[in-house]
């Protein structure tokens, strides 16, 4: 990517996030609530994409890191009375360590490809089951944050709809920006090389083990931070919903549908997937037809993956690029 196109996309990103920041002024709370979800999934997607899209490690167990972040933060606040900021940090560190361990296990024992994916599932499920049976965090009965006290939202990180919208918007921006920086650095080259062919990369001196572990750690820590905020937003934590397979699957649909290994993909994907989900849920509930939502959602993501093999964003990006170039030359 040359400098001109980089600048163009950078400009586009800034414009996009600026618009997003102004939206709460003009829209209703219910739209903001949906946008919050979109930003949250865009962020989770970005974190997952870093590991899959750029380093080629397919994880289906990212729910584990959401859950670890969520529980670490909630328990720090609820049980130990610590600041949520500290809780977020603790969660990120724990997740990074667990992520590093999983990556190390996979690497050490040469568990590759689809087997690595299944390893991530197994570890995540084991994590969920442990939490379900760990009474300190409430086990299956759940862990509930007490009602927020009247402190400053930036201290307690508890607030209303708009507050959490901005939290996740900021996370998205940081995620986007951080990923952009990372993939343009040395690391980015090495990661892509590993994604393409790990053995070939190692043969030309790429330290695959550390770099992969590092990628998983960053991805896990990012995911965990998102999970912490989600816990604060949600207030009630259950292992099954916070770290179950379902969450793991949900967060990867957006980046794949949007376009894997691209910066905008996870965001575009979230803008597609979440509203579809909301609208079909609403339709099904108001009509009282159970299952309709699932059906609509399934059909739509199936259609995208059948007809747009690379996801939504890459063909759109190509068109924009062509259009910009055409505009410049004419």
């Amino acid at each position: 990517m040359n400098n001109a196109t980089t600048r163009m996309w950078g400009g586009l990103a800034i414009a996009f996030f600026a618009i997003m920041a102004f939206l709460p002024v003009v829209t209703s709370d219910s739209i903001i609530a949906v946008l919050t979800l979109i930003m949250m999934f865009a962020f989770f997607g970005q974190a997952w994409n870093l590991m899959m899209g750029y380093v080629g490690q397919l994880s289906l167990g990212h729910g584990l890191y959401i859950g670890l972040g969520a529980y670490a933060c909630a328990v720090s606040v609820g049980t130990f009375g610590l600041s949520p900021w500290l809780g977020i940090l603790i969660g990120a560190v724990i997740s990074a360590v667990v992520g590093a361990f999983v990556a190390w296990l996979g690497f050490r024992f040469a568990v590759k490809g689809i087997y690595f994916t299944l390893l991530t599932i197994a570890v995540a499920e084991l994590g969920r089951l442990s939490f379900e049976n760990w009474s300190f965090v409430g086990g299956n009965a759940g862990y509930f944050l007490r009602v927020a006290q009247d402190t400053h939202p930036l201290l307690s990180l508890r607030g209303g709809t708009t507050f959490y919208y901005f939290c996740f918007l900021v996370l998205s921006i940081l995620g986007f920006w951080g990923t952009a920086l990372l993939i343009r650095s040395r690391l980015g080259y090495f990661w892509r090389a590993i994604r393409e062919d790990e053995d070939a990369a190692r043969a030309i001196g790429v330290r695959a083990l550390r770099l992969k572990i590092l990628a998983v750690m960053i991805s896990a820590a990012m995911t965990s931070v998102g999970g912490s905020f989600y816990a604060l937003l949600s207030g009630s934590l259950f292992p099954d919903t916070m770290m179950g397979m379902r969450f793991s699957i949900e967060i990867i649909i957006a980046p794949i549908i949007g376009g894997m290994g691209t910066l905008f993909g996870p965001i575009i994907g979230a803008f597609f997937v979440i509203p579809i989900n909301e609208i079909s849920n609403h339709a099904a509930q108001s009509m009282g037809i159970f299952g309709l939502n699932t059906l609509i959602y399934g059909v739509l993501i199936l259609m995208v993956i059948v007809f747009l093999p690379d996801g939504i964003w890459p063909p759109v990006a190509k068109r924009i690029e062509r259009w910009m170039k055409g505009g410049a030359s004419s």
Binding site: S185, Y189, R192, A193, D197, A201, A203, I204, L209
Partner: protein, 246 residues
């Protein structure tokens, strides 16, 4: 005759795959600044030898010494950092990266900054004639170009020893000659090379020394001329009426 000191010493390496002994007790030295050929029938264990030298496989027995340092237990990337680069018999380009980026990954091993790596990669590509194609994705290259890219990636790591596994197989004679010229030049600049080739013409024209593997064992070694006259080599590898080298 005063031999230069060996850069690479292969000491009795053996590789067994469940039941099958692919390489058995093979020892040879590669003197610094020389070009050494490794030949042998299909399945003789040539690629396996390379795999073990480059750290991609652990020898069942024996060890490899590079520049006086044992390579036991080192990873491929560590061995590469010490100065050994290799190509893969079945080419392995980084498909969805451009030719330049492929070479840059190798160059980043020693280049302190992205810009310097880019320059180094570009000059390596120019050297072997891939300069014009640097912005093409590797997956769109033709097979000979992929082989050259394989070479470029290896060279970009600025190795002292280069292991080439059939880089010229499938090239037309004129194309192969161009590669030979490049290798000669690099060798002139001090690069030590070990190469596996089935095309005797190529081997005869650049190897200083040839080792022959058969059923995983080193059956003979010596100058190219001596080796091709060896009856065991003729029987197991070259064939009687061979008039090789088109």
């Amino acid at each position: 005759m005063s031999q230069p000191k060996p850069l690479l010493q292969v000491q009795g390496i053996t590789k067994r795959f469940s039941g099958l002994t692919a390489v058995s007790q093979v020892s040879f030295d590669v003197p610094e600044g020389k070009i050494m050929g490794l030949i042998g029938p299909n399945g003789a264990g040539k690629t396996t030898c390379f795999q073990m030298i480059a750290g991609a496989m652990k020898p069942t027995q024996g060890s490899v010494v590079f520049d006086g340092r044992s390579l036991d237990g080192l990873n491929p990337e560590e061995i590469c950092e010490l100065g050994i680069a290799r190509t893969f018999q079945v080419v392995r380009p980084l498909q969805e990266m451009t030719v330049l980026d492929n070479a840059m990954v190798g160059a980043l091993l020693r280049a302190p900054s992205l810009d310097e790596a880019r320059d180094l990669a570009a000059s390596t590509l120019d050297q072997i004639g891939l300069g014009a194609k640097k912005d093409i994705l590797a997956m769109h290259l033709t097979l000979p170009d992929r082989k050259m890219l394989e070479l470029a990636k290896a060279l970009a790591t600025q190795p002292r020893l280069l292991l080439l596994d059939e880089v010229m197989a499938g090239l037309r004679p004129t194309e192969a000659d161009e590669v030979i010229a490049v290798l000669r030049k690099l060798n002139g600049e001090g690069l030590t090379i070990v190469l596996v080739e089935h095309v005797m013409r190529i081997l005869m024209s650049i190897a200083d020394h040839v080792a022959v593997l058969h059923h995983g064992e080193l059956i003979t070694q010596g100058t190219p001329e001596a080796v091709t006259r060896d009856p065991r080599v003729i029987e197991s590898y070259l064939g009687k009426g061979a008039k090789h080298g088109h």
